[in-house]
């Protein structure tokens, strides 16, 4: 201490200050570095994507190489599969999250489920694709939109479980006690009181899950495969935006590559809009 007090001119003090200035400059530089990637990626994406964006993208099918066309069938395919995945995954996730937060908060089973769920949350999505290939595609003998939806649903579940549990844990116990004290059965207490108090947060979870799966490619590659044409049959291969981008971007044809950029822009805009909405809802629910 004595050295420090002895004055700003001492060499030790100067060294420490220099070190501090250098590392703080590094911190600024690192942040600039991180933000510049975001700007670079979005910048290129907007530049390349907007030039190809037109009404035709939303009204025409994917073209054969060398001719013009749109992305209607992959867009619809993605929407339908995402919808089905949410339809399958959300109830399962909400119920499981309810068990973790309401019934078995301190159970041994819950701690195991929580741990496994956290691992599923960041498990490689391509492995989930392989899993669904094994249990659905290989058994049924053909690729199908259903298999794609189920693969996406497997990704939805852990996200919803996690947010549901977190949001229900935030609901004050006094609310539950008040409900119990007037004789409300536990199931009604959960569905009528706890769910209502946690609603915004739970919706946030579902939105985050949608954002997560709408860009997923790997689990669809060998479940839903791809389809160049319009199909209403979920039992047949269904095209999806990410898989079409993958196929078109790696192709040698210029107009396919342009369409891939446009598709990439559409997905990114959708995902960013979803995650910003989710964040907004999330901060709203914390305030109230």
């Amino acid at each position: 201490m004595a050295i420090m007090i002895s004055g700003a001119s001492s060499p030790l003090y100067a060294t420490r200050r220099r070190k501090n200035v250098i590392t703080m400059a590094l911190a600024y530089a690192a942040t600039g570095f991180g933000l510049s990637w975001l700007a670079l990626i979005l910048g290129v994406l907007f530049y390349e994507g907007f030039s190809g964006l037109s009404l035709r993208v939303f009204t025409e099918m994917t073209p054969p190489p060398g001719s013009a066309g749109g992305l209607l069938n992959p867009i619809i395919g993605s929407l339908v599969m995402t919808f089905l995945a949410v339809l399958i995954g959300t109830p399962l996730g909400i119920l499981a999250g309810t068990y973790l937060a309401e019934y078995g908060r301190y159970d041994k089973l819950s701690s195991v489920v929580r741990f496994i769920n956290d691992i599923l949350l960041s498990a490689p999505s391509i492995v989930i694709g392989l899993f669904i290939y094994e249990i659905m595609v290989a058994q049924m003998g053909h690729f199908s939109g259903w298999a794609g939806s189920v693969a996406l649903a497997v990704i939805v579940v852990p996200v919803v479980v996690r947010t549901t549990e977190d949001m229900l844990t935030l609901v004050p116990d006094t609310l539950r006690e008040a409900a119990a004290s007037v004789g409300l059965p536990r199931s009604l207490m959960i569905t009528k009181v706890a769910y209502r108090a946690a609603r915004a947060g739970m919706i946030t979870g579902v939105l985050l899950a949608i954002a997560r799966i709408s860009g997923e490619t790997a689990p669809l590659l060998f479940t839903a495969l791809n389809n160049q044409f319009w199909t209403n049959n979920m039992n047949a291969p269904v095209s999806s935006l990410p898989v079409v981008i993958f196929q078109f971007a790696l192709s040698p044809y210029k107009d396919w590559q342009d369409l891939a950029w446009t598709g990439a822009l559409i997905i990114t805009l959708a995902v960013l809009a979803l995650s910003i909405t989710a964040r907004f809802l999330g901060s709203q629910s914390k305030k109230s």
Binding site: M1, R16, R17, K19, M24, A27, A30, G34, L38, V44, E48, I94, L95, A96, Y99, E102, Y103, G104, L109, V112, I116, N117, D118, I119, S122, A123, P124, I126, V127, I128, L130, F131, E134, I135, V157, L175, A179, V182, G183, P185, S187, L188, K192, V193, R196, A197, G215, T217, A218, L221, F222, P242, F246, A249, L250, A264, I267, T268, L272, S275
Partner: protein, 340 residues
């Protein structure tokens, strides 16, 4: 939220608290019976859903093991160490993709960990309050961008840039340095192990940043303030107070990011070059487990080929499972300490 949740409950109390006639008592018993049944049913339903999470995980493991049995039976443990990958002669070995997976993730972590920690330091110590949220959100948006976008961007923008400017420079600078020259050997392809590693670094950066920021924020202000009070510089506070206190959490966050990097598929598939060989140079094309599966699975003919790819998936799942489990245990240890 709170008041609207409470009001109907109070109403129920008034209705239930009134005088009950004898005739109503029978109805009441019926209603109670029904409620009791519904209660049990709901309880079991949620429990079943929780068990479903376990079933999904065991389903993944069992189906992967089942699918990879033919390959594992044919090649045995040698599958792990064999380099050749030849669909024609049906000779398959996993060491090249395993090597590629590990080396790309290693490059990613070497770059992303220091940068991520510095950004977290900036966000918790230096950044003005009103800017913290916007910058934090912007960094997290990086995590929200789908991996296929990184892939297409990497292929069309980043790889050509590296090929034209960065890689020739690296070759020129390190070409004559004894050890490093092998690392940067060969022509600048643009795509390759280094490019994949760099893209992965950008992708995992937000994970490291957001977890480190959260754990840095959890350091009791008292600790930091007393260090500042002693005259510590910001760097000294970060290095000797914040980092030691949050070490377990930071390691957890880093492992979580590593788990992501190991399993990342699409971004890597675009820029790795898909060459089944182990090269000393990080400029050379390579492959990773996930890129191999994504590229070859739908085209694989024959049981052994398909099964070998599933065996690769099994290896990937085991590796990431271990890494992620370790990450969770670390984060749980930190939470336990903060909770008390």
């Amino acid at each position: 939220m709170k008041s609207s949740g409470e009001r109907p409950v109070v109403d129920v109390a008034f209705q239930g608290g009134g005088a009950i006639s004898a005739a109503e008592k029978v109805d009441r018993a019926k209603v109670l019976q029904r409620l009791r049944l519904g209660d049990t049913a709901f309880r079991h339903l949620t429990r079943a859903a929780a068990l479903a999470v376990l079933i999904i995980l065991s389903g993944i493991i069992i189906s992967l093991i089942y699918g990879s049995l033919p390959a594992l039976q044919k090649f045995g443990i040698g599958f792990l160490f064999e380099e050749s990958w030849n669909p024609v002669t049906e000779q398959f070995g996993a060491i090249a993709p395993i090597y590629g997976t590990i080396i790309t993730s290693l490059i990613a972590m070497l770059i992303a960990v220091p940068i991520g920690l510095f950004i977290a330091l900036f966000l918790t110590e230096l950044c003005p309050m009103w800017l913290r949220r916007p910058i934090g959100i912007a960094i997290e948006l990086l995590a929200g961008i789908p991996s296929i976008i990184y892939g297409i961007w990497g292929l069309f923008v980043f790889a050509p840039f590296l090929q034209q400017y960065v890689q020739p420079f690296l070759i020129k600078v390190f070409g004559n340095v004894p050890v490093l020259s092998t690392l940067f050997e060969g022509p600048p392809y643009g795509i390759g192990v280094l490019t994949a590693g760099l893209i992965l670094a950008i992708m995992v950066l937000p994970f490291i940043t957001s977890i480190s920021r959260d754990v840095f924020d959890a350091v009791p202000p008292m600790l930091k303030e007393s260090a500042y009070g002693l005259g510590c510089t910001t760097w000294e506070v970060a290095r000797y107070v914040v980092l030691p206190f949050t070490r377990v959490g930071v390691i957890g966050g880093v492992m979580l990011a590593l788990g992501r990097a190991l399993g990342e598929t699409m971004a890597v598939t675009f820029v790795i070059g898909n060459a089944h060989r182990i090269s000393g140079s990080i400029l050379a094309p390579g492959t990773t487990i996930s890129a191999t599966i994504a590229n070859e699975f739908t085209e694989a003919v024959g049981d052994i080929y398909t099964s070998s790819l599933i065996a690769l998936g099994l290896i990937l799942f085991v590796i990431t499972f271990i890494v992620l489990a370790f990450a969770r245990i670390m984060l749980m240890r930190l939470n336990a300490r903060l909770g008390t």
